[in-house]
């Protein structure tokens, strides 16, 4: 298969995000997958560099190998070829027990410590906009060793302070008092790590585990570190940039569009110009 990098006109932004996300997976890992682009990314890793990864779907499918991309984690398509189809009690028990290496998640807002909001925009008690709510976002993020967030990059979404901490980052609130502490102090035996990357539509961000602060790792082609910093409400650390986000390979594009999502459910095909 052709492992050469594709040319800019051969792929779209969704392809780039999907491939960047896929590369976060290491072989033999147990990965907790949410609906949508993360699912494609993980299945892409399964087809390429991580053939022995184990896939968990929140609704209760364990070690799944769906032949067709499921539309959601409750989908009948999740179950074909799985080791086991059961329920949420198993999925969350397995996660809390510490089996999960990596979780893929999304969010509406993120702050500089990786706290993520999917609950509401504005004051919780008088919200401007009520969103979906947490779903399994805080759970996967609490239980997994690493989590990767995939997000649309808008300045209002990369915010000084999220409206509501739905999912715990590196520095969180110690209730009932609410003082800010490092996640490690709060989680005790459940501390296994935290958010390891944010893949936005502009670049790939990582976290300093000690300070808990986000930094820019790579810029997607066409974006400079300064431009990306300008697209964050907080003061983004751009001193650790390692280069440009690697583009998809032709092999990856082949799997995405010919094998995993030929129906373009989650990832649109780029039309030849």
């Amino acid at each position: 298969m052709n492992k050469e990098f594709a040319k800019p006109e051969e792929y779209g932004l969704a392809d780039l995000l999907c491939c960047a996300a896929s590369r976060e997976v290491q072989d033999n890992e147990i990965v907790f997958a949410g609906t949508g682009l993360p699912m494609v990314a993980i299945m892409l890793a399964q087809k390429t560099h991580a053939p022995n990864l184990k896939l968990i779907f929140e609704a209760g499918t364990l070690d799944g190998r769906p032949p067709e991309i499921p539309t959601s984690v409750g989908d009948a398509r999740c179950e074909m070829g799985a080791s086991r189809s059961s329920g949420l009690h198993d999925a969350f028990s397995i996660a809390q027990r510490g089996y999960v290496d990596l979780g893929f998640l999304g969010g509406a807002e993120v702050d500089q410590y990786g706290n993520v909001n999917t609950t509401c925009i504005g004051d919780y008690l008088n919200p401007e906009l009520r969103l979906t709510g947490s779903g399994g976002n805080p759970d996967i993020n609490s239980f997994a060793k690493r989590t990767v967030f995939i997000m649309v990059h808008e300045k209002r979404r990369f915010t000084e302070q999220v409206s509501y901490i739905t999912s715990p980052g590196w520095r969180v609130r110690n209730w009932p008092g609410g003082e800010t502490v490092h996640r490690r102090e709060l989680y005790g035996a459940a501390y296994r790590g935290g958010p390891s990357a944010v893949i936005s539509t502009l670049g790939v961000f990582r976290f300093d585990e000690e300070s808990g602060r986000i930094y820019l790792d790579t810029c997607h082609a066409g974006n400079t570190p300064e431009q990306i910093r300008d697209m964050c409400q907080f003061d983004l650390d751009i001193t650790r940039v390692s280069g440009e986000t690697l583009p998809p390979t032709r092999e990856e594009l082949h799997f995405i569009h010919e094998v995993l999502d030929p129906e373009q459910i989650f990832i649109p095909k780029v039309k030849p110009k």
């Binding site: 009520r130 779903g135 709060l186």
Partner: protein, 321 residues
């Protein structure tokens, strides 16, 4: 042996009273008891307290119709077919509904505790988030925590005394009046066989005081009992049974039919406003019964949604753009 558990959809809906707390089978857009949800809307049920492991279209229909006063859960939306719950969102904005937020695992462990007869569970999830923010205790703020059906506290914090595992959050059992399940098969005496993922159905069935099971087919009890290790819920946990083919539409059912994505997308698009919801309800709910609804959906659509019996899902539905 017949157990006299068989009732009609109308009778099933009448078991849910104004003010009842209610929960459902399924997961987001799969195996939701829609035929009965529609009937509750037709009967104009009021003041419901929904306690759901996760929400979905059934939440949005009941909330849009004004049946719900309190929604206690973690998520609502239509997955690919509608990215959030527009009816809930509108009513939250208008302060027409109370929302109590937990995490998904917390909701699941709350139902597991109730199903085990335990008053609470301990977990280490969602620590440090605003889900645990004491100011955001909606039912407490509303003065509704009577310690009977609604627990005295939203949560409590404690430490593990056994292994020094650190901070724990105690989440109260989810006690509900009625659970409505929608499954592939139920026996005449109530034994349930779910095919595919059973989600949190066993827990919600046992957590509720009254459990109603809607099934695609009521089968001879003896047929299910030939292989007792394939069954999902015990006879005596089920109080009433109703046979309702295609009863989960527009949500899907493993091995039987797919999600009707076009229908959900249409619902999501049209019900951003109350007028839009009322119009949708006039078209698809009021003045119809279940057979009338199926007739209106039509043969070609249902054949298209029908699952391939080898694959367990439909090969006919268009899922992409």
């Amino acid at each position: 042996m017949s157990s006299g558990k068989r009732i009609t959809l109308q009778q099933a809906a009448e078991i849910v009273k104004n003010g009842s707390s209610l929960t459902f089978s399924g997961f987001t857009i799969w195996r939701r008891p829609f035929a009965l949800v529609y009937e509750l809307i037709r009967q104009r049920r009021k003041g419901l307290h929904l306690i759901e492991v996760n929400g979905g279209p059934q939440t949005e229909f009941l909330v849009g119709a004004g049946c719900v006063d309190i929604w206690e859960s973690c998520w609502v939306g239509h997955e690919l077919y509608g990215k959030y719950g527009a009816n809930l969102s509108r009513k939250v904005g208008n302060k027409e509904i109370l929302v109590e937020d937990y995490s998904h695992a917390e909701m699941l462990f709350r139902f597991s505790a109730a199903a085990s007869g335990a008053p609470y569970a301990v977990t280490q999830t969602a620590l440090g988030t605003d889900i645990h923010n004491p100011a955001y205790d909606t039912l407490g703020n509303a003065g509704l925590r009577d310690g009977r059906r609604i627990p005295k506290h939203k949560y409590r914090f404690t430490e593990d005394p056994f292994f020094g595992a650190g901070a724990q959050v105690m989440v109260p059992a989810a006690k509900v009046d009625v659970a409505i399940l929608c499954v592939q098969q139920v026996g005449e005496e109530g034994t349930v066989r779910v095919n595919g993922q059973f989600y949190s159905d066993p827990e919600v069935a046992r957590a509720a005081d009254v459990t109603i099971v809607m099934a695609e087919e009521i089968v001879p009890e003896e047929y299910l009992r030939r292989d007792s290790d394939l069954n999902t819920i015990t006879s005596f946990e089920v109080d009433h049974i109703v046979e309702v083919p295609f009863g989960a539409h527009p949500t899907g059912m493993f091995g039987r039919y797919d999600v009707d994505g076009a229908f959900l997308k249409d619902f999501y698009t049209r019900t951003r406003t109350q007028e839009g919801f009322d119009d949708f309800a006039k078209e698809w709910i009021h003045g119809l019964d279940h057979l009338g609804y199926l007739e209106k959906l039509g043969w070609p659509k249902m054949l298209n949604l029908k699952a391939n019996t080898a694959l367990k899902y439909s090969t006919g539905v268009k899922r992409g753009q």
